[in-house]
């Protein structure tokens, strides 16, 4: 089971960087999202994997008995997913607005504010 996560983490990180390095804003956002997914998976895998047993105390017990999944990475990841979603939603809307305003989604055309200033003045 470790191997699956290793492959998945490597693949997702590679794909996300590849997308980030592209000039399209849309691909940049997709890349960042995949980067988030990969990071979550990474933390999850580093916190050790347990099949089936989740971090829930059975109704007939007072404390959780081993083996059970480590709740700490899960709590961290849960926060990360939700925050990540807020970020994604904002980024998506921002790209839309940027496209409306600037008329392009090519990052390289957006990187020189000085030029815009000098042409206007």
């Amino acid at each position: 089971m470790d191997l699956i996560f290793t492959v998945a983490v490597g693949l997702l990180f590679a794909a996300s960087l590849y997308l980030i390095l592209h000039r399209h804003l849309f691909k940049l956002i997709v890349g960042l999202m995949i980067f988030g997914l990969a990071s979550n998976l990474y933390v999850f895998a580093i916190g050790r994997l347990t099949r089936e047993k989740s971090a829930i105390i059975p109704s007939d017990a007072e404390i959780a008995l081993e083996p059970f999944a480590d709740p700490v990475p899960q709590a961290l990841i849960l926060t990360a997913i939700v925050i990540g979603f807020g970020l994604q939603a904002f980024a998506i809307v921002l790209v839309k607005r940027l496209y409306q305003v600037a008329g392009t989604d090519d990052i390289d055309e957006l990187n020189n504010t000085d030029k815009i200033d000098s042409t206007e003045k």
Partner: protein, 774 residues
């Protein structure tokens, strides 16, 4: 002694306020402080002359060995008296010179700050403490030179002085730190006792060279002298105080201070000698060519500093005595002459010697001061300058080696001094000329002529009665430099000896040089080409190429391309991680067996994850359709959610499903109007990006495998498992952590989401009016 420094600092920073309260009477407290300090230091004369060493210590940063250690020996006391006595005169003079200036308070702030810093330099016996005060003198000098900050030339000159002296200050810092490491102490006294070890230490050469650089830049030695003439852009009181009498002598002080610790070796003596003699000649040669009063004085100051440094380089006890006598003589007449030049400038509005004629009759007291100082500068009997010059010649003449070239250099400097002295004391005041007497706009008030007159009289009195006035303290100072007891006996008459012959020769040649002043001031046109490669031009070339070079460097590094930055960050990351793995030999942890064991451990349902994720990820990267990209990305997200289910994280899975769905909907709703993808990246760049990405992914995967070979010791897991139900009354531990143990965190998270919602709403609903700036 700490209180003298503190008093100076407090009064310095109170000066602007005092100026507001007292108006033009601000001079009173500013003059009283150095006067009080002078009196205070006078009380130390008898114990110090008797050979006592006054020490005071206050802890400052004891953990770093930096303590406020003060020491008052002959040398320190001599300088302290010089600084405070000149302080009194200059403060009084400045009040009259800058009368009515709206920033006089600020001026006094800088000047008093400088005085305090300079006192700190000569009183410190902790070498790092010395360095701090040393830098403070450079900074106050910068502020004073740029006092007339509305003029570009003032700002450029101030910057030049700062860059050169602070560059030297950095060298000095390195030298002093090395010295501290070599001697295992920052206390001057302790280091002094380790002289034999220091001389044989492998750091000796760098220490000596770095300390010399610090001293040479500060004392305007060739080729660092260029800043001093330009520093004349400062108001004249500053030139008189900092740039002739005290600050530029800090370098001389430093060399003298370290002589008993580091001196006496060939590299020390010969380097200092050579630099000093060169400076003496260059300064004298350039002084002859100047027309501006202050420029003449500046170059002769450089020459005099060169002579002083030469004497330290010679290093014999006699040369060191001569150095101190000449230093005092020079301070007296040069300080006075600077003030006179300032007063002339103030009265007539010009400093050009060709426009100044016959000032003597209408400014009798000022001309008296000028004559006294000029006679001292020329080295006439019975002035103190005569004593200084005699000893200077004798010191060079009796140098153990290179006596002939050194004497020649010093005598040349002396001849130039005579010529300049005649110009200043006679030329502009009394010389009969076809031109009309220069118009005097307003007669100088008392404090514009009194301080230089006092200095001139002091030069006369010290010359006639040296042994009952200055000899004891000079002996104590020389003793501190030489490291042995010195009894100085000064006398005007030494009989007919070669030195007297040299003096007479100097005076005759000096007058001849004066007669040919015109040739010296017009002829240098032919030297233009030489000056073009001189240190003055070199400074500007260096400064300009530095700014051009840094601009080019910034432009090449800061390309402004997001992808470039990301690529650099990732490459750095990979290099660091691989480097760390290599260095710690962590790669030994992962063996092929690790993978084989892991492969056999996969259950059937888990293959589904791989089957879903791998093609979907590849599709995301390759597709040119936005919709396909969104769909396949969601597929990846769902696959991950599935894996959360498989490995005991139902909450994560639920959230992930929800978020993926929402994101996909949002994407489709918002982004359907964007243009289609067109390939924007070149094939070659694309290959580079692809390989970098694969490398990055492989690195992350490898780190994951590696980390998992080490045991995880999680006390938190056990803690939450044991307390979740009993203390927080919740069976789902993850939920309990979020809403109970880390409730504040979750509240912050909710706030972030709320802010995101506000941002999204405003982006969607608010549009700029037509014509609004973006």
């Amino acid at each position: 002694m700490l209180y003298t420094i503190l008093a100076g600092l407090i009064l310095a920073f109170a000066a602007p306020l005092l100026y507001r309260l007292l108006g033009r009477f601000i001079s009173v407290p500013m003059v009283v402080l150095p006067a009080v300090l002078f009196a205070y230091f006078c009380t130390f004369i008898s114990p110090v002359v008797a050979g006592q060493l006054v020490m005071q210590e206050y802890s400052w940063i004891p953990s770093l060995g930096i303590n406020l250690q003060f020491m008052l020996d002959g040398l320190g006391l001599f300088f302290a008296l010089l600084i405070t006595s000149f302080g009194v005169l200059v403060m009084a003079y400045a009040g009259a010179y800058l009368k009515g200036d709206s920033h006089l308070g600020r001026f006094y702030l800088y000047l008093t700050l400088f005085m305090t810093a300079m006192l700190g330099v000569v009183l410190s016996s902790n070498i790092l403490c010395l360095l701090v005060f040393w830098e403070l003198t450079s900074i106050s000098s910068y502020l004073l030179i740029s006092y007339k900050h509305k003029y570009e030339v003032s700002r450029a000159s101030a910057l030049q002085a700062l860059l050169i002296t602070n560059g030297g200050g950095l060298c000095l810092m390195a030298g002093l730190i090395l010295l501290g490491i070599a001697g295992d102490s920052f206390s001057f006294i302790e280091l002094l006792q380790q002289r034999p070890d220091l001389l044989n230490h492998s750091f000796y050469l760098p220490i000596v060279l770095l300390i010399m650089l610090g001293a040479f830049t500060k004392s305007a030695q060739f080729p660092f002298h260029v800043w001093l003439p330009n520093a004349m852009a400062a108001p004249t009181p500053v030139s008189a105080y900092l740039h002739s009498a005290t600050m530029v002598k800090a370098g001389v002080y430093l060399l003298a201070r370290f002589s008993p610790m580091l001196g006496g070796t060939e590299v020390w003596n010969y380097t200092i000698m050579a630099v000093g003699a060169t400076t003496a000649v260059v300064g004298a040669f350039l002084a002859l060519q100047q027309l501006d009063l202050k420029a003449i004085l500046a170059y002769t100051t450089i020459s005099a500093l060169g002579s002083l440094v030469t004497l330290i380089g010679i290093g014999s006890t006699f040369a060191l005595e001569a150095m101190l006598v000449f230093l005092l003589a020079h301070a007296l007449y040069k300080g006075a002459l600077f003030m006179i030049a300032g007063t002339v400038d103030h009265a007539t509005g010009t400093r050009d010697t060709t426009k100044l004629h016959l000032l003597g009759k209408r400014m009798p007291l000022l001309s008296a001061a000028a004559v006294l100082s000029a006679l001292s500068m020329a080295g006439m009997i019975p002035f103190f300058g005569f004593l200084g010059k005699e000893l200077l010649y004798e010191g060079a003449f009796e140098a153990p080696r290179f006596a002939v070239p050194l004497t020649a250099a010093i005598v040349f400097s002396g001849i130039a001094f005579v010529a300049v002295a005649v110009r200043l004391g006679y030329g502009i005041f009394f010389r009969k000329s076809a031109n009309e007497a220069t118009h005097i706009a307003h007669k100088p008030e008392t404090f514009l002529w009194l301080p230089p007159l006092l200095l001139g009289i002091a030069g006369l009195v010290f010359g006639i009665l040296p042994n009952i006035t200055v000899a004891p303290i000079l002996s104590a100072a020389a003793g501190a430099v030489a490291g042995s007891e010195v009894h100085l006996h000064l006398a005007l008459w030494h009989g007919f000896n070669p030195i007297l012959m040299l003096t007479i020769l100097t005076i005759i040649l000096g007058i001849v040089f004066y007669a040919f002043t015109n040739i010296f001031t017009t002829w240098p046109v032919h030297l233009e080409r030489l000056y073009k490669i001189g240190p003055g031009e070199l400074y500007y070339t260096l400064k300009n190429s530095l700014s051009i070079g840094s601009k080019g460097f910034i432009e090449s590094v800061q390309s402004g391309s997001l992808r470039y930055y990301v690529a650099v960050i990732i490459m750095t990351f990979i290099v660091l991680v691989v480097g760390a793995i290599w260095q710690e030999e962590l790669y030994r942890v992962v063996t092929p067996d690790t993978f084989i064991a892991a492969l056999s451990d996969i259950e059937l349902n888990e293959y589904i994850l791989i089957l879903l994720m791998v093609p979907a990820t590849i599709f995301v990267c390759l597709t040119n359709s936005r919709l396909i990209a969104i769909t396949t990305m969601s597929l990846v997200g769902y696959a991950i959610a599935l894996s959360y289910i498989f490995f005991g994280a139902p909450d994560l899975a639920a959230t992930q499903f929800l978020v993926e769905t929402l994101t996909a909907v949002l994407f489709v709703l918002v982004l359907h109007k964007l243009p289609p993808f067109v390939p924007l990246v070149k094939y070659k760049t694309n290959a580079f990006y692809l390989s970098l990405s694969v490398l990055f992914g492989a690195t992350m995967a490898y780190v994951l495998v590696m980390v998992r070979q080490f045991p995880l010791d999680s006390e938190l897991k056990a803690y939450f498992g044991a307390t979740s139900w009993l203390e927080a009354k919740g069976r789902n531990i993850v939920n309990v952590i979020l809403v109970d143990y880390r409730a504040f965190d979750t509240m912050g998270e909710i706030t972030v989401l709320a802010i995101a919602v506000i941002g999204i709403f405003s982006l969607l609903k608010l549009y700029p009016e037509k014509g609004d700036q973006l």
